[in-house]
């Protein structure tokens, strides 16, 4: 396990449950994070991203009035979104596979099943640092590449049409 120093990373915690925000904040502090902010709903979080240069968002799925998935879609595709590429870790009590697929299709980077712990949250942060994923712009999707691993057994033609673009 690589021991990263996270003190320069900025986090935004989005959860409509005060206790969960407190728990996630405590975990982040105990992992050495010094700068994080909290939002109690998706709309406030979207506004917060407009002036707070967060590096990673930790967001709950089951929020009102805006769910975590709706928030993610707004960050990825909203016309006034300020940080479309920001990594999003989705916290959820749902673990059914169709839920995981739904989260992935909304543009989430990592999925973290509750109950959350320091070890599981750090593992997701590490994964984001170590395995950055390119983004895909398609007619029905904008978000991190959903193909996590290259299929080494695939011997067909490359189906993606446009050549890769590199942003600096």
């Amino acid at each position: 396990m690589t021991a990263y120093n996270l003190e320069k990373l900025k986090f935004l915690i989005v959860d409509d449950n005060d206790n969960m925000r407190f728990l996630v904040g405590t975990i982040l502090r105990s992992l050495g994070v010094r700068d994080y902010r909290e939002s109690g709903d998706g709309i406030a979080a979207f506004d917060e991203l407009g002036h707070y240069p967060a590096d990673i968002v930790v967001c709950d799925w089951d929020m009102r009035p805006m769910t975590g998935l709706e928030f993610t879609r707004m960050v990825r595709s909203g016309s006034d979104s300020t940080n479309r590429f920001i990594p999003i870790i989705m916290l959820t009590g749902y673990t059914e596979i169709q839920r995981v697929v739904e989260a992935r299709d909304s543009g989430v980077h990592e999925f973290l099943a509750k109950p959350v712990s320091a070890k599981t949250l750090y593992a997701r942060v590490r994964s984001i640092i170590e395995y950055p994923r390119p983004f895909i712009r398609a007619s029905l999707y904008f978000g991190p590449d959903r193909r996590r691993k290259e299929n080494l057994n695939y011997d067909g033609a490359e189906r993606r049409i446009a050549p890769p673009k590199t942003l600096n």
């Binding site: 320069k8 050495g32 673009k165 590199t166």
Partner: protein, 162 residues
């Protein structure tokens, strides 16, 4: 993912790797991770305060369901949200049984559109069990008593499965 086949691939610079360093003071070593886990375990006092508050709200929602039969779906949804939050927190603080019973209760509630006497009885048993876990401070797997209780609840829940 057919849509993705007709897509543009955008490679991004790894901004995060540029912001983190490896090792040294402040890095998340296995020891730091263990200390972080201990810090969460030491928040049990906070958790007990939260969960007792949640139980009061849950019992209130259950009473509302029991005593006035109208708008059952709405009341079930209210209960689901409370239990959903509870199940998400219990395990983080060593109260695994709150997460397990909460999972079972969420599963039971999410399959219901209405609540007759047998559904209300089943929900009530789960609420009582969650109460008992906190009242008796049943941490971890709770021992043989908890095992019996979970088997009983599973049996109750299985009547409504599917």
């Amino acid at each position: 993912m057919a849509d993705e086949d007709q897509s543009e691939l955008i490679n991004l610079p790894n901004m995060l790797q540029a912001k983190v360093t490896i090792g040294g003071p402040g890095a998340v070593s296995p020891e730091v991770l263990e200390q972080a886990e201990s810090m969460i375990a030491n928040m049990t006092g906070n958790y007990l305060e939260w969960v007792k508050g949640d139980l009061v709200v849950l019992r209130g929602a259950f009473e509302a369901l029991k005593t006035s039969p109208g708008n059952a779906k709405e009341k079930l949804d209210d209960m689901f949200r409370i239990v959903h939050d509870m199940r998400g927190q219990g395990g983080s603080f060593g109260y695994k049984l709150i997460t397990i019973i909460g999972n079972q209760l969420c599963y039971l509630i999410s399959g219901l559109d209405d609540a007759g006497p047998s559904e209300i009885e089943a929900i009530g048993l789960h609420v009582e069990a969650m109460d008992l876990v906190i009242a008796r401070n049943m941490q971890g797997d709770g021992g043989p008593d908890a095992e019996q209780m979970l088997k009983g609840l599973e049996k109750v829940g299985s009547k409504f499965a599917g």
